[in-house]
């Protein structure tokens, strides 16, 4: 009998084991199932913030916040533990497989994927959750940020081109297109976004965006103000379109003037008060905590190229942006004893300095640039001087800058110091004007290669079967 009992016990144990539920749901992180299907207003907010936060991730990358400024010879970063900040910038070429050559790409496309996912899902949002006008405002915002992201990628890559991501197909690898085509694509995207923002009328965003939208002179939660931002960005894109050598777009500068004027509230040349210069849309930073997104420029290994300090005109109050270092920093053949005021890591406030995406001072200077290029130097000087004089410098007359080249140099000076350490705009300009090459620019070290663009990363090349498949298509 005992044998039967034993057998029965064994059988029961087996049966008990089978009863254990084999399904274990993931507990560490949510899955994409959480946001598929119908969106709620909270879902819209979460996904929209995902787009904005990932844009900040791109801005925080060294490939966006530092390398372009190093290439443009305003910034040094000297780190005894990481010589590649010099050896792959001013002393050598970037390695597409690692460090300085592998960044500034993926994050842009992750933002674009997040934008595409949200844009595809927005039409499924019931009106009870988000009103149609608010949906238009959200669509306009996300499309504008998608365009911004492509523009940022293009700033870094220039003639290498960028890949266009198929909107609703995460499984297909999109073509790499040339600069002209990419600019056309971005321009069309911005126009489409503008249509949505205009259609939104007096509506606001259905959620509270980060304070960079509201804290700096203009309330960008309003669709109407987002439209101004959109036009400003379009104007910046059109200036870039006009400057490209291969196929300058006819009328681009005239168009840019119109758009920038719209963005500046139809102010006449020279008519924007300096008190508005800081007005704009900003990326904001938070130090520490789980978020831990400190301003990437708050970095004690950053220095300012001594030539940038030497280039300042006497009396220019923007000189305060450059401060002495307690101890000179040197390495890999370069040395400096000055740094950017926002890079002093000893000043904790620097960790949370915002970085402008676009502010009115840049719009004024962009319009000045467009006026000069469009052959309207007096209008250009009016805008230029409104900036110059606000920093304690005498106004320039046409006699001071009689030629287009002189006008460009004057403009580049103002852009350099007004927008000092504020993104790749100087790299874009120097490159466009052919001023970043041997014979024009003094080499920083003997082996200075005059890098002008960050390569398309090796991972992208590998996935496409080799670098030979990265040739951009213009067709």
């Amino acid at each position: 009998m005992r044998k039967y009992t034993t057998a029965l016990t064994a059988g029961l144990l087996l049966a008990a084991a089978c009863k254990d539920n084999p399904v274990v749901p993931p507990v560490d992180a949510p899955t994409t199932n959480a946001v598929s299907g119908q969106l709620t207003s909270a879902g819209v907010k979460t996904l929209a913030l995902g787009v904005l936060a990932n844009d900040r991730n791109l801005v925080s990358e060294l490939s966006y916040s530092k390398l372009p400024e190093i290439y443009a010879r305003d910034m040094y970063r000297i780190d005894p533990n990481e010589p590649r900040y010099v050896t792959e910038t001013l002393a050598g070429t970037p390695d597409p497989g690692s460090f300085s050559g592998s960044g500034g790409w993926t994050n842009g496309y992750v933002t674009i994927r997040a934008a595409n996912t949200l844009l595809a899902a927005l039409p499924n949002t019931p009106a009870s959750q988000v009103s149609p006008a608010q949906l238009q405002a959200t669509t306009g915002l996300i499309q504008t940020f998608k365009a911004l992201e492509y523009y940022r990628l293009l700033e870094l890559r220039d003639s290498l081109g960028v890949a266009l991501q198929p909107d609703n197909d995460p499984n297909t690898v999109g073509p790499i297109v040339c600069k002209a085509k990419a600019l056309d694509y971005i321009a069309a995207l911005l126009d489409s976004a503008n249509t949505a923002l205009v259609a939104a009328g007096g509506a606001s965003l259905p959620f509270t965006p980060p304070t960079g939208f509201t804290k700096y002179g203009r309330d960008y939660t309003k669709a109407a103000n987002l439209a101004l931002f959109n036009r400003g960005l379009k104007g910046k894109v059109d200036v870039y379109r006009g400057l490209q050598h291969q196929s300058p777009v006819a009328g681009a500068f005239t168009q840019a003037i119109t758009e920038l004027s719209t963005a500046l509230g139809t102010a006449t040349p020279g008519g924007v008060p300096s008190s508005d210069f800081k007005t704009g849309l900003y990326v904001t930073f938070v130090a520490g905590g789980t978020e831990n997104a400190a301003n990437p420029l708050s970095d004690s290994r950053i220095g300012v190229n001594p030539k940038a300090q030497a280039g300042l005109q006497a009396g220019d109050t923007r000189a305060s942006k450059i401060i002495p270092l307690a101890k000179p920093i040197s390495g890999s053949g370069i040395t400096t004893d000055v740094t950017f005021v926002g890079s002093d890591a000893g000043n904790a406030a620097n960790l949370t300095n915002p970085i402008a995406i676009l502010r009115d001072e840049e719009l004024v200077l962009l319009r000045a640039q467009a006026y000069f290029e469009a052959g309207q130097p007096l209008n250009g000087l009016a805008d230029l001087n409104s900036v110059r004089t606000s920093y304690g410098l005498p106004a320039l007359t046409l006699a001071d800058v009689p030629t287009l080249d002189a006008q460009r140099n004057a403009l580049l000076y103002e852009k350099r110091y007004s927008l000092f350490f504020e993104g790749p705009q100087r790299l874009v300009d120097l490159r466009a004007y052919g001023k970043l090459k041997a014979g024009v620019t003094t080499p920083e070290v003997a082996s200075d290669p005059f890098n002008t663009a960050i390569p398309i990363p090796k991972t992208e090349a590998d996935a496409r079967g080799g670098r030979e498949n990265l040739t951009p298509s213009c067709s």
Binding site: V24, I334, P449
Partner: protein
């Protein structure tokens, strides 16, 4: 469900057919070899051809009921060669003398959860390492102790830091991104071998950021076990043997059997070891012979070339009292004694209670000041026989380890001593000042970092409390002369709490410069792991004159669970505060996981032709919550055959041919889902899709192995030779296929592709000389393995597995069909004429496959000599070939501070032209172990301690005493990223290797 019905049916049939026919009692005694004819307790006696048997008692005596006719008795005991004795019909008294099994020809080899066969019959090349072989020279951890002892295993240490960090690879790389560790099973319970990143990154900045990383130089937790508690280790090297472990068996299985109580007189063992470690190897540093030489260096490397700077540098050099420090000797000079105390008591009564109790206290010191590894353990094993049919066994082991490994490996904060030495001209003083403070490092290349200060003030303790427990019951449910049914139920638990801390006070020069306004770092990690197992099995043995059939079936249920909670605090101003709540900023992180596995298995072993032919067939069906389909059972079959060839020439004792085929799997460790990544923006949560695309149908990797070989024993069993060849094929690899980042995803989980590993393993065990009191026993192992990626799935291009590397400039792992799995990719030459700068532009550097991390072959030479009371044992391991990427050289070259300036500057100049100069051949020959021992003569031991002392031995031993290699780094055994399947070969300012010397007294009462 069906399986249960079948089991119940079989049991019912067996119960119905009972027949017993015992007619006489045979009594006898079993003794061991040697003049004194020492009685052997615990030897098993069976009547050949039946299931009838008995065990010997303390006096070596047994008695067994036998059929009336002539019978054959087989006597067997662990460590002795089994012997069969004919007992004629009239004889009822028998004396059996067993001979020691020096070459372990007859060790029991585990074939299933509850079954084993003698290695004489085993169809697989299973390596058995005895506890004695394991602990001959005290090793830091179990895995260290296996180095050089097992053909087919490459056992590599990650660095010289105390406390472990060792990887065992059986039969090559079997996965690219999946789990790479062999499965560890202790007394039937699957135990955990995870590595928990202990947060070093928060001060080293190796991977930057505020969290732990794979560059934390962490330890795999099998290191916790106490090697002295091990009776034997069996190594199932591949799926043909490990298929019973289903989707955890691909990387092989290491089965550890611990010491159990044994009936017999109470035995007390006590061992005391004392020793120390010394720096085994130095890199050296440049000596500046004149102030001018230094000023020239500073002008060149630092750019200090103004007249004032040159004058300052000359003055600084002239003022230095010591012109050339040997920083390594000054720093790695911890001369505290290490010790190990081991005690155990073993005893019990036959048919009653048996017990084994052991304890350990140990401290190993690291080379750097204040680095150490301490371990304490207490283990209790109790066996209880109830009646004649039920046996219960319980094990419980409590372990505590505490490790302080200091800082080593890659860093970005100028904190690794190796990194600091590579950037500090050697006339600069770093040692403690007379007033107790430390000088700020004056090197212009560093921000004050002083390793002496760091070692003094930075604490990195990691403390683990671990409880390993198991209980099993075996019921002899049914027993006749021809048949037995045994039911076994084993439950086990492996649970540990791992607490790691890092305390880096704000006033440290490195801390202050690296963290700026937020100097003062604390890190606290709490990890809790629980593995629980339940195994049930039924074994039926049928013994017939023509054959023996052993049928087993059962289930195995496993649950693995962990929670890791880590928090980093920055900006802790007060140096004595170690609470993260005082931090200005905190960075929390938590990971948790739960895995449930369930498997059924069944196996049939069939012996026939006078036990010459063994045929085995088995199947394991397993589901796991790690798989995409959590309810699906995946099946893993196995088949094997071995045949002991009869009618051999007289000098041949045994010749066995064997063939085994089996399948095993490797569970996915993620990949079922596409996660949402949450991103905070001003404290508000945003979310976007992760950059890694999931796969809903992710399934285990599938390994299929075919193994064949033969074992030959000749010349009175004095020489045994074993040869094995295998082909292991892994399909459905778990891959994260790289996809173009422009899609917004960087990779995707996918099953596909194939790796094929082929290899040869040879073992030669011999007693070349045995005369009088002199014996020489020799074991030689050889293994050679070639792994190849034979295909990648559609749409997956060759890729860098991204397991950790520093870019193609130095060398990284690379997965490409047709190439070795362990190939190293780097630049090799310049595609354009070299520019005047001597630097090839990166885009023009030619990418090539320049090396291979896998050694060409590995050999182990283990020799023991006994002469009277004296013993000498030595173990040498030879690895031929295999490459390592030596970034440490690049550190020194870049600052021109290597000892050999000419070689160094030529090397870096070559590197700039695009040559792979940092990929180095890392072959070596190491004297792993050497022991000289002396047994005190019996005449002496018997007079000592009033005769209670049985044996006493004095030993002098050493570990890793010498390495012969052309490798220019510290140690060719290195891995900056700790344990990982590929890309181990990164040498970045590691913890230097040590030599260990030990003096031991080993006594037995």
């Amino acid at each position: 469900m069906k399986i249960r019905t079948v089991i119940l049916g079989v049991l019912a049939v067996l119960a119905a057919s009972a027949a017993q026919a015992q007619q006489r009692r045979i009594a006898g005694r079993v003794t061991g070899e040697g003049g004194a004819a020492e009685p052997l307790a615990g030897a098993s006696i069976t009547i050949v051809g039946t299931t009838i048997g008995a065990y010997t008692g303390v006096d070596g005596r047994f008695s067994v009921m036998a059929p009336s006719g002539p019978v054959t008795l087989r006597a067997r005991r662990i460590g002795y060669t089994a012997k069969t004795v004919e007992v004629p019909a009239g004889q009822n008294e028998v004396e059996i003398a067993l001979v020691k099994d020096v070459l372990q020809l007859e060790a029991q080899v585990i074939t299933g959860t509850a079954t084993a066969v003698s290695s004489q019959n085993a169809a697989n090349a299973v390596s058995v390492v005895s506890g004695e072989q394991l602990t001959r020279v005290a090793a830091p951890t179990i895995d260290n102790a296996l180095q050089g002892k097992v053909a087919g295993a490459i056992v590599s240490q990650n660095s010289g830091a105390p406390g472990g960090g060792t990887q065992i690879q059986l039969r090559g790389v079997s996965t690219i991104l999946g789990n790479y560790s062999p499965l560890y099973v202790v007394d039937g319970v699957i135990v955990n071998n995870n590595s928990i990143n202990n947060g070093l990154n928060v001060i080293s900045g190796a991977a930057r950021g505020n969290y732990s990383s794979s560059q934390d130089q962490s330890v795999n937790r099998i290191a916790d076990l106490n090697p002295n508690d091990i009776e034997s280790i069996q190594i199932l090297k591949g799926p043909s043997a490990s298929s019973i472990y289903g989707s955890k068996g691909t990387n092989g299985v290491i089965i550890i059997t611990t010491k159990q109580g044994r009936a017999g007189r109470t035995n007390v063992d006590f061992t005391q070891r004392v020793g120390r470690s010394t720096l085994a190897n130095k890199l050296g540093t440049r000596c500046f012979k004149s102030a001018q030489e230094y000023a020239d260096w500073a002008a060149d490397v630092v750019g200090a070339d103004s007249p004032a700077e040159i004058a300052d540098n000359i003055a600084a050099y002239n003022a230095a009292p010591v012109k050339c420090h040997d920083y390594e000797s000054e720093f790695y000079s911890n001369d505290q004694l290490s010790y190990e105390t081991i005690a155990s008591v073993r005893g019990g009564t036959q048919g009653g209670t048996t017990y084994f109790v052991s304890g350990l206290a140990k401290q190993d010191n690291g080379l750097a000041p204040s680095d150490y590894y301490k371990k304490q353990s207490l283990r209790v094993n109790v066996g209880q026989t109830i009646g004649s049919r039920l046996h219960l066994n319980a094990n419980s082991e409590l372990l505590h380890t505490i490790t302080q490994r200091g800082v080593s490996g890659n860093d970005n904060n100028g904190i690794s001593p190796g990194n600091i030495f590579s950037a500090t001209p050697s006339f600069m003083e770093l040692r403690r000042n007379a007033d107790g403070t430390f000088p700020e490092n004056p090197s212009p290349l560093l921000a004050g970092s002083n390793p002496f200060q760091n070692a003094d003030i930075i604490k990195t303790p990691e403390s683990v409390f671990r409880l390993l427990g198991s209980a099993s019951g075996t019921l002899n449910a049914y027993s006749t002369e021809r048949q037995t049914v045994d039911l076994t139920l084993t439950g086990g638990l492996d649970s540990y709490a791992d607490n790691a801390k890092i305390v880096s006070p704000a006033y440290g020069y490195t801390e202050a410069s690296a963290q700026g306004a937020l100097a003062g770092t604390l890190f606290n990690s709490d990890a809790n792991f629980v593995n629980a197992n339940l195994n049930g099995s039924v074994v039926h043995r049928l013994v017939m004159p023509a054959f023996t059939a052993q049928t087993s079936a059962g289930f195995r249920q496993e649950r693995r669970q962990y929670t890791i909670t880590q928090i980093t605090g920055r900006g802790v101003i007060f140096p004595t505060v170690t609470s993260v709540s005082q931090a200005a900023q905190t960075f929390p992180n938590q990971n948790q996981d739960l895995v449930k596995d369930f498997a059924y298995y069944a196996q049939e072993e069939f012996f026939t032709l006078q036990d010459r032919l063994l045929l085995t067939a088995g199947v394991n069906a397993e589901r796991s919550s790690n798989n995409g389909d959590q309810k699906k059972f995946y099946t893993y079959p196995k088949f094997s055959a071995s045949y002991r060839v009869p009618m051999l020439p007289s000098f041949v004792n045994e010749l066995k041919a064997r063939l085994a085929y089996g399948m095993a799997g490797n569970q996915p460790t993620g990949g079922r889902n596409t996660f949402l990544t949450t991103l905070l923006y001003e404290g508000v949560t945003g979310a976007r899709s992760s950059t890694i695309k999931g796969a809903e149908n992710i399934r285990p990797e599938k390994a299929t192995e075919l193994e064949g070989g033969f074992d030959l024993t000749v010349w009175n069993s004095r020489v045994r030779f074993s040869a094995t060849m295998y082909r292991k094929q892994i399909d459905d690899l778990l891959l994260q296929a790289a996809i173009a980042p422009s899609t917004g995803f960087t990779s995707q989980y996918i099953n596909g592709g194939q790796i094929v590993n082929r290899g040869t393993e040879l073992e030669l065990d011999a007693t070349p000389y045995e005369r009088g009191s002199f014996t020489w026993v020799s074991n030689t192992t050889f293994s050679q393995e070639r792994g190849k990626v034979t295909s990648l799935p559609e749409g997956v291009n060759p890729f860098n597995p991204g397991v950790g590397s520093f870019g193609t400039s130095y060398g990284n792992a690379w997965i490409e069909p047709g190439q070795s799995t362990t190939v190293i990719q780097s630049y090799d030459g310049c595609s354009i004429p070299l520019p005047a700068s001597g630097r090839c532009p990166t885009a023009s550097k030619i990418i090539a496959l320049v090396g291979d991390a896998n050694p060409d072959y590995v050999m182990g030479f283990n020799n023991s000599f006994t002469f009277g009371h004296a013993h000498l044992t030595g173990l040498v391991e030879w690895r031929k070939g295999g490459d390592v990427v030596n970034l440490t050289n690049n550190y020194f070259d870049g600052y021109n501070l290597a000892a050999d300036t000419l070689t160094s500057q030529k090397r870096i100049a070559d590197w700039r032209t695009g040559l792979p100069v940092y990929v180095e051949n890392a072959g070596f020959v190491k004297l792993r172990e050497i022991t000289l021992g002396y047994d005190l003569p019996a005449s002496l031991t018997q007079t000592l301690l009033r005769g209670t002392l049985q044996n006493a031995r004095l030993e002098l031993s050493g570990r890793n005493l010498h390495t012969w290699t052309k490798y220019s780094g510290y140690d060719p055994e290195v891995s900056n990223f700790s344990n990982q399947p590929l890309g181990r070969m990164q040498d970045v300012t590691p913890y230097p290797p040590s030599r260990q010397f030990l003096v031991s007294i080993i006594t037995s009462f």
